[in-house]
C-alpha cells in the first residue's frame, strides 16, 4: 500500500464531500434555521428573557454571521472526520465489496454507511431546528444519538462478520439478522425526551432539507473517494529492495 497517497486521498475526499455538504446546507437549510431562530427570538421577548431593542439585534447579527460563516467550514471539518472513518472501512473492506471498479465499490459502501450510520439513527432521532430542544437534556440526547449510531454501525459489522461463517445465503443472514437486531434496538431505545413546541410544518421541512444535505455528503464521499482511488490506486503493492 502506498500509505501517503492513501492518507491524502482519504483526507481530501472527506474535505471535498464535507464542503459540498456545507454548501448544500448553506443554500437549502439556512432559510429554515433563520426562520426557527426568529421564532426563538420571539419566545425570548414574550417570556421577558430578552428585550426587543436595537442592542439585542446588533448582538444577534454579530453571532448569526459567525454561525452562518461556520456552516461551510464545519462541513469541511465534519466531512474530513467522517471521510477518515469511510477511508479506513473502505481500505479494509475493498476486496469484499461488489463492483468491478473502485467508484462502484466506494458508492456501495457509502450507501451502506448512509443507511446504517445516518438513515436508521435519523428515523429514531431526527434532526431538529433551533427552538426545539431543552438545554437541560442536551447531554442525554447526545448520548442517545451517538449510542444509537454506534449500535447500528457495530450491529451491521457484527452480522457481516457472522455471515462469513455461513456457506450459503450470506446476504440474507446479514439483512435478516441486522433487520431484527436494529428493530429491537429501535423500539428499546428511549425516545427524545423533549416536547416539540415549534410549528410542525417548519420542523418537518427542516428535517427534509437536513436529510437532503447529509445525503449529499454520502453520495459525494463515495463518488470522490472512488474516483481518486481508481485513478491513483493506493492499494498497489510497494516493493522495497535490500542488497
Amino acid at each position: 500500500m502506498r500509505t501517503f497517497v492513501f492518507l491524502i486521498i482519504v483526507l481530501i475526499s472527506g474535505a471535498f464531500a464535507g464542503t459540498i455538504h456545507g454548501v448544500v446546507n448553506f443554500v437549502i437549510v439556512e432559510p429554515y434555521l433563520d426562520q426557527a431562530i426568529g421564532i426563538e427570538n420571539q419566545n425570548l421577548f414574550a417570556s421577558g428573557e430578552e428585550k426587543d431593542t436595537p442592542e439585542f439585534w446588533v448582538e444577534y447579527e454579530g453571532y448569526r454571521v459567525w454561525q452562518k460563516s461556520g456552516q461551510i467550514l464545519a462541513g469541511t471539518i465534519l466531512g474530513t472526520s467522517i471521510g477518515a472513518l469511510f477511508g479506513i472501512i473502505f481500505a479494509l473492506s475493498r476486496n469484499s465489496l461488489p463492483g468491478n471498479n473502485d467508484v462502484k465499490k466506494a458508492v456501495v459502501l457509502s450507501g451502506i454507511m448512509w443507511f446504517t450510520l445516518f438513515l436508521i439513527p435519523f428515523l429514531k432521532y431526527p434532526a431538529n431546528p433551533p427552538t426545539v430542544g431543552d438545554p437541560e437534556t442536551v447531554i442525554l440526547r447526545s448520548i442517545l444519538y451517538l449510542s444509537f449510531i454506534a449500535i447500528s454501525g457495530f450491529g451491521a459489522l457484527a452480522f457481516y462478520k457472522l455471515s462469513k461463517k455461513f456457506q450459503n445465503n450470506r446476504k440474507l443472514v446479514v439483512l435478516i439478522g441486522y433487520g431484527v437486531f436494529i428493530s429491537v434496538a429501535f423500539f428499546a431505545m428511549p425516545e427524545n425526551p423533549d416536547e416539540i413546541t415549534a410549528p410542525m410544518d417548519l420542523v418537518n421541512e427542516f428535517r427534509i432539507v437536513s436529510f437532503l444535505g447529509v445525503t449529499s455528503f454520502w453520495v459525494s464521499i463515495g463518488l470522490i473517494l472512488g474516483f481518486f482511488w481508481n485513478r491513483l490506486g493506493p492499494h498497489k503493492e510497494t516493493t522495497t529492495s535490500y542488497n
Binding site: 500500500m1 483526507l11 461556520g70 456552516q71 464545519a74 472526520s81 477518515a84 433551533p130 516493493t239 522495497t240
Partner: protein, 67 residues
C-alpha cells in the same frame, strides 16, 4: 544477495491517524461546549462557546443535538 519485501496491507499508524482525525472532527463539530478552547482560555471558554457557535448551524443541519 537481494531481498524484495512487498507490502500491500494498511499500516497501523495510518489507521490510528485517521481514527484520531475522525474522533477529533466529530467532537469539534458535534459535541464541543468550550472544552477545546478551555485548554488555553480556562473557564471563560465555557461561557464564550466560540466553537459551539461556529459549528451551530451544521450541528442542527447534520442532526446533532445542539441545545
Amino acid at each position: 544477495m537481494q531481498i524484495n519485501i512487498s507490502k500491500s496491507g494498511i499500516p497501523i499508524f495510518a489507521i490510528v491517524l485517521l481514527a484520531i482525525v475522525f474522533v477529533f472532527g466529530l467532537f469539534f463539530v458535534g459535541y464541543d461546549q468550550g472544552h477545546i478552547f478551555s485548554i488555553v482560555l480556562g473557564e471563560q471558554a465555557f461561557e464564550d462557546l466560540y466553537i459551539h457557535e461556529l459549528t451551530h448551524d451544521m450541528r442542527h443541519a447534520a442532526g446533532f443535538p445542539c441545545h
